[in-house]
């Protein structure tokens, strides 16, 4: 289906990344946001709370981030596309209910405009140090989707993708921005509503009495949905549950549920991963980065190419799930990966794991508060080419 015109501000705008993410969410059909506003993500909810009355949306400023995430889960089960918005300290508080959202198979989006950490860290300054928390932050075994935009334009475009993926796989999608992109103002082109593809909630056509909330048809991995209030009997829980949504705390039940929760992502990795690849054929060094760092890295790549180094580029758009297969293959053909990120080395660990000793992996760390000096990336590229 196409986007609801009420939520689409078609035209050319000069917007910061936070505003653009908010516009993307509204264009994607998001009509409920619960949050506890925090720098540098505040402008997302500022924008949405101002525009929501024009499209029948609801913003609730909650008492804290735990409640925010809980409210988002509740709203999602009424069939409303729902989102919360936070930064590092709030992201930590949301981890418990993020697990609940995974367990209950809740389509929703969680925006984290990353700042420097740990703890309250650097409220107004950039970071990318929550990337492993996005992967592993809640307890238990699960798979999740996390994406990272590089610009205000991509904050808009990718947000629509984020909502669509959350609907297809009934999984929370983590929208991992960084302060630099969030507070950076650039040209953002918002298309016409009929140019925006929207994935609606997969509602069941079974009758009440025939429907079970977690029943999957043969070969399928994602259950159909019944909205709260539509007259279906409905039970759901954070406990390990069976197809009826009732607790089934057995080893067999655990095998069945956890396997399916992981399979629905793992078996669809090829449809979920998104990355840009450039000049990797014949490259000696491949620079892998994401978010704002991918732009700074591009400057370093151009300088390294001037020095005669054959450099390829991988820009991750979806970071989790990771393009494991592609990185494994590439590692056999190049001398080394260089991974700059605004943290002390997180996604680089995944690159190193997938490279499996077939090539070198060089981390270019930065503790946060700013972006890399491109020269440090140039040095790493030149070093990896030797």
């Amino acid at each position: 289906m196409k986007a609801d015109p009420l939520g689409v501000l078609t035209g050319a705008h000069y917007l910061d990344g936070d505003f653009a993410a908010g516009e993307g969410a509204m264009a994607a059909g998001c009509r409920f946001v619960a949050g506890y506003p925090i720098t540098p993500s505040t402008e997302v909810v500022e924008r949405m709370s101002r525009r929501f009355p024009m499209m029948g949306g609801t913003f609730i400023q909650m008492e804290d981030e735990m409640a925010s995430m809980a409210a988002v889960i509740g709203a999602a089960f009424t069939g409303t596309k729902s989102m919360t918005v936070t930064s590092g300290p709030g992201f930590s508080l949301m981890m418990e209910n993020l697990g609940l959202a995974v367990m209950m198979e809740t389509p929703c989006v969680l925006v984290n405009v990353q700042r420097g950490g740990p703890s309250t860290g650097l409220p107004t300054m950039t970071g990318q140090s929550d990337m492993m928390q996005a992967r592993w932050g809640s307890h238990g075994d699960y798979e999740i989707i996390a994406m990272s935009p590089k610009s205000p334009q991509e904050s808009f475009d990718l947000m629509i993708d984020a909502f669509n993926l959350s609907e297809i796989y009934r999984v929370p999608v983590l929208f991992m921005m960084d302060e630099c992109v969030g507070h950076m103002t650039e040209k953002v082109i918002i298309p016409e509503p009929d140019e925006i593809d929207i994935v609606p909630r997969k509602l069941t056509d079974k009758k009440p009495g025939e429907f079970w909330p977690y029943e999957v048809n043969n070969g399928e991995l994602v259950p159909e949905f019944a909205r709260a209030g539509d007259g279906y009997r409905f039970h759901t829980t954070g406990l390990t549950h069976d197809y009826r949504g009732y607790p089934d705390m057995t080893v067999e039940g655990q095998w069945k549920l956890v396997t399916r929760l992981m399979d629905k992502i793992n078996k669809n990795v090829d449809d979920i991963i998104r990355f840009e690849e450039e000049e990797t054929d014949g490259a000696d060094v491949v620079v892998l980065s994401y978010g704002i760092t991918s732009r700074v890295a591009r400057l370093a790549i151009e300088k390294a190419r001037e020095k005669g180094v054959k450099v390829g580029v991988i820009r991750l758009i979806v970071v989790w799930p990771f393009p494991e297969k592609q990185i494994r293959e590439m590692a056999k053909k190049i001398k080394g990966f260089v991974v700059p990120e605004i943290n002390m080395g997180q996604v680089v660990l995944e690159v190193e794991r997938c490279a499996a000793g077939n090539c070198t992996t060089t981390s270019v760390p930065h503790p946060g508060g700013g972006v890399h000096d491109p020269e440090t990336i140039v040095e790493a590229i030149v070093g990896a080419a030797k």
Binding site: A12, H13, Y14, T39, P40, T124, S151, C180, H183, M184, T185, E186, K187, I292, R295, V296, R298, L299, G370, V371, P374
Partner: protein, 193 residues
């Protein structure tokens, strides 16, 4: 060189950010290039020095922060003092001449306008930043006058368009009357890039 760097400074409440917003709007949306604006985020809500920076380029701006400042637009002395050392040796200072006394290094150029006084004469001191913008537009000629005007119209609150256009024109005229000979000259700032 296609990359151009601009910093706008002043005190909170002078409209520093809106001024930057319109420059970025004009250069990217109206003229079809790229413009990345980064605001300073600090405790400068009202009265103390605040700033915003823009990087302009023909293609995607890769490094969003300042590396080599070409043009400094200063609306307060404090703001000027905080940023003057960033300005390159051939840089240009555009300043509020009643509020800022620039100490230009050899090779740097300065263009001043009493924009607050002019805005008072127009009737609303709040449009000081748009008077300054009109002057900046004439000094820099980064885009054509028509595109500047279109960016102002798109960026100011509804109902204030006429007042703001008057302010913009007053700033533009001040440059023509004091520095121009009736024909805009692009070379005023070109040496800075």
């Amino acid at each position: 060189m296609s990359r151009k760097e601009i910093r706008i400074t002043g005190f909170g409440g002078q409209g520093v950010v809106l001024c930057g917003h319109i420059i970025g709007h004009a250069y990217s949306i109206d003229a079809g290039h790229e413009a990345t604006m980064i605001q300073s985020f600090g405790p400068e809500a009202r009265g103390s020095a605040c700033s915003t920076s823009l990087v302009l380029d023909e293609s995607e701006v890769l490094y969003p922060y300042l590396q080599d400042l070409h043009i400094l637009l200063a609306m307060s002395q404090d703001g000027y003092e905080q940023s003057k050392d960033l300005l390159n040796a051939k840089g240009v200072v555009v300043h509020e001449s009643d509020l800022v006394v620039p100490d230009l290094k050899k090779g740097q150029k300065g263009y001043g306008i009493p924009s607050t006084r002019i805005a008072e004469e127009i009737g609303r001191v709040i449009v000081q930043n748009i008077v300054m913008l009109g002057f900046f537009a004439a000094v820099t000629l980064l885009v054509t006058k028509e595109l500047w005007e279109s960016a102002v119209m798109d960026s100011v609150p509804a109902g204030t368009e006429e007042l703001n256009m008057k302010a913009f024109q007053a700033g533009w005229d001040h440059f023509e009357e004091n520095y121009g000979d009736g024909t805009p000259k692009k070379e005023t700032v070109e040496t800075a890039f």
